[in-house]
Symmetry: C3
Subunit: 361 residues, 3 copies
């Protein structure tokens, strides 16, 4: 029978309320079902980093010395269970400064998207799964495979992890200070990139909390790949983990390259359904959203300084842009573009030419 | 031949203008093609509800006494034709208060997304398909199947219905006051949920027009499922109809659970194309957007108080969050989480712990 | 081995920096790989159009006399290579007025989404690929096919082209003044529409830079299809190229019609994967986003004045709406809707009834 159901007539058959039941009740589980014990362990440190002007900066690192924002990119294979032990080395005084409500607890945490974890690894204040200053806590993440019996999809995808307690119950100050990083869960057979870059689009027109020239610090002679220097050789498979944080909507746009709007960013398969997949070069990213972009650097289009920017015009105008520098197969940037024109005519870069990489002669 | 066509060179061959043609012209049809007569009828009432502070609240109900916001969730099967008779019991004086333009007509209406309807069921002022105070009108909705000859897709999906005339030509005041509800159109064989919840994300950081503690009023001892109490037992299939209303962008995020970004929220099929479907746990929702989320409550992650919130940080901080309470298979909430820590240590819930459900001993 | 990789440990093996290498280095290529020479050429003019109030208006045209905003819709077939020669006829004085930074160069350009182009056709100031006043430049676009060896998707899709230099390094003033147009790349066998309309959603609640009555200027007796008059006969396949520009988020919503969220806007195929494709009637569009909507005008729902609007309520209330006028198969608008009620009762159109098309008797 076809029915029109008012929500309010749903009833919870057999519900005994939230109160703890009698002696037979099990405790909340420590690990997700399917993870009997972790396949691997990682140690992560949350530390305070040098301030960026007046801005407090925090970061996650595999060692306290290598902490950064974004934090280290984690990679898992579907089926794997990972135990991440987080040490909170952020001074209590700093956490107090970031706290607006004196009744909110002091601590940092690890809240992850996409993979499975129990309440004890939720990373929230309400579940008490955070780490007070000077202490540590182990979070268990399970990259569950698709379960056709239960009807649940797999966890392979592009995700991120972040603090959920610094400053308030949603970790707004923790995220805003730098406590976030990327997570890729791959399926066996997924394409493996030659390079992986995080592109975290956030408030104040920032990419990875920087904007304008600060978002591209590539040394033109010896560019060192990293969060503020995106460089690849022609033909390399480059992967972007795109994440939105903060309060605003953004779009991720890259010049000269496009990708398939799929789980991996790559198109596979051969039939009519494959033919329906959208190829895009601009995608809206809201806070909490994450997706993967996989491209072949310079494919068909060749080397060059390819812009990456938010297509909200006032965002890009305010500095929400960076550049993917695609070198030729030998690692050189060929002449022939406007840069050489610049050098040979007036020597002055045009306004808005961005980072220092354009000053090469 | 490949062509570059300027839009302006398109011409309307044979167009005779909008004016009514001679005697041979047919009237605008009352029902969509394919619906000879309704398979089913529903009676709906639009009424005024108690104010929420100064806010006027209206609601749709299957009876005047059970009207609510959101209104009753409608369910149809592809191929079905439904006649909904709407009785406008909202006082004319209330509608006048909500009207900013004295030339705009007084009335309420039913405008539906996704399914088929003729101009006479459009629910707009410009088509005069609204209901003046004290009157009624029958709207015909047709859940058309895919038509491979015409090349049109089916109408199965997650939709919503809403007023389109209260206050102005777009029903802004009607929607903002509570005149909206969910509609699910299923295809034969689609997974059937054990529970369905509406999550309408709107202005002023509201979920179903409430925020903060008001968005989760679950009684910890006897939680009654409803718009402000999301509860399920482990293993139950829970469906969310997520809808955006108002002026702002939001994201729907749920902790510990994820879903397939498909028509049903569930992943089916076995080949390379299936493998390309994205699993997500956060999705941007703009006004007018609607999508379905289907999850197995507690799958792998177990029972607990799982947060649902907008991931725009200033939205969640301002109260745009609620909780899905997942009980164990027996309907109990197991101990072991932070809540018991709280009870046994200081007894004080942390700031931001949300609704009263956390005060259980 | 499963690894946790910090981004910063990526290294660029063999990178020689951006500086020009020795004599063996090739120049930046003029054309994308795969395009040995253009299959077709197009001439495009950028001109100044009459102001819209105080607003400077620019447009692209296949001739200077036919320039408009949006510019001509371009159409390509996958595999095709197109050379577009752009003549900049916009007065230097106008470009100076639009420039906020006196060091930014004067010129207009062509930056295209989706298809392939080298740095020399990037249309940016930093690559010097723009056109100073009174000059011309040829841009080469290559609608590359899917490359299964490289693992790159095809370029078929709904795209747009726009200026990237007027006013500043992101072309904000060029786009805002009207320098944009649509591009459709089709694959052999893709459905061919009977009519194509551009729907560019932008700042100040504009559709194609107009709003309110200005967005629908259809003559009720002889409606001439164009950017401000959307009209079709029942049964015609109508295609919308939906593009977002400017600073704001919007949603594209159409009454009575829906489409498949696929590459073409049409659903093809027969299996379980096809069944997972979402049918939608409202889609969020951020700046830089573009997608295609294909519908059969009046399918099942019949003729009528079908609203198209942004579902952000304050946007539609402020005039971000237009109408698709669906005539019957003979090109007439049948009586029977509210319009005739209006004519026979008071003769007054309700507030918000929109463009003059509702005044037909």
């Amino acid at each position: 029978m076809l029915v029109v159901a008012a929500i309010v007539v749903l009833s919870l058959v057999g519900a005994g309320g939230f109160a703890v039941a009698g002696g037979a009740a099990a405790l909340l589980p420590e690990r997700p079902e399917g993870c009997n014990q972790p396949d691997r362990t990682v140690t992560l440190y949350a530390v305070e980093l040098p301030r960026d002007g007046n801005q407090i900066r925090l970061g996650y690192g595999l060692t306290p010395q290598t902490a950064s924002y974004p934090g280290p990119t984690m990679e898992m294979i579907e089926g794997e269970c990972l135990a991440v032990t987080l040490h909170n080395q952020v001074p209590a005084a700093t956490l107090e400064q970031l706290r607006t409500d004196p009744t909110h607890p002091l601590g940092v945490s690890l809240h992850v998207h996409g993979v499975k974890y129990t309440q004890l690894s939720d990373g929230t204040a309400q579940s008490f799964s955070y780490v007070p200053p000077g202490q540590s806590r182990t979070y268990t993440w399970y990259a569950k495979k698709r379960d056709r019996t239960a009807g649940t999809p797999g966890t392979a995808g592009y995700w991120w992890y972040h603090d959920h307690v610094v400053g308030g119950p949603h970790g707004t100050k923790g995220i805003g200070s730098g406590l976030f990083g990327g997570l890729v869960v791959r399926r066996v057979g997924d394409p493996k990139p030659d390079r992986t870059y995080m592109s975290v689009f956030g408030d104040q027109q920032s990419i990875n909390l920087r904007r304008g020239a600060a978002a591209d610090t590539c040394d033109p002679v010896n560019p060192v790949p990293g969060p503020t220097c995106i460089v690849a050789k022609k033909g390399e498979r480059v992967e972007f983990i795109v994440v939105g944080i903060g309060n605003d909507m953004h779009t991720f746009h890259i010049h000269g390259h496009s990708w398939a709007d799929t789980r991996t960013g790559v198109l596979t398969g051969t039939n009519a359904e494959t033919d329906q997949v959208q190829t895009i070069d601009n995608k809206t990213v809201g806070p909490g959203d994450s997706f993967g972009v996989q491209i072949i650097a310079g494919d068909s289009v060749g080397p060059g300084h390819w812009m990456i920017h938010c297509h909200m015009q006032f965002h890009s105008d305010a500095g929400m842009y960076t550049t993917m520098h695609v070198l030729d197969e030998n690692g050189n940037m060929p002449p022939g573009g406007g840069h050489e024109h610049s050098a040979t005519s007036s020597g002055a870069a045009p306004a808005g030419s961005g980072a220092g990489v354009h000053q090469h002669k």
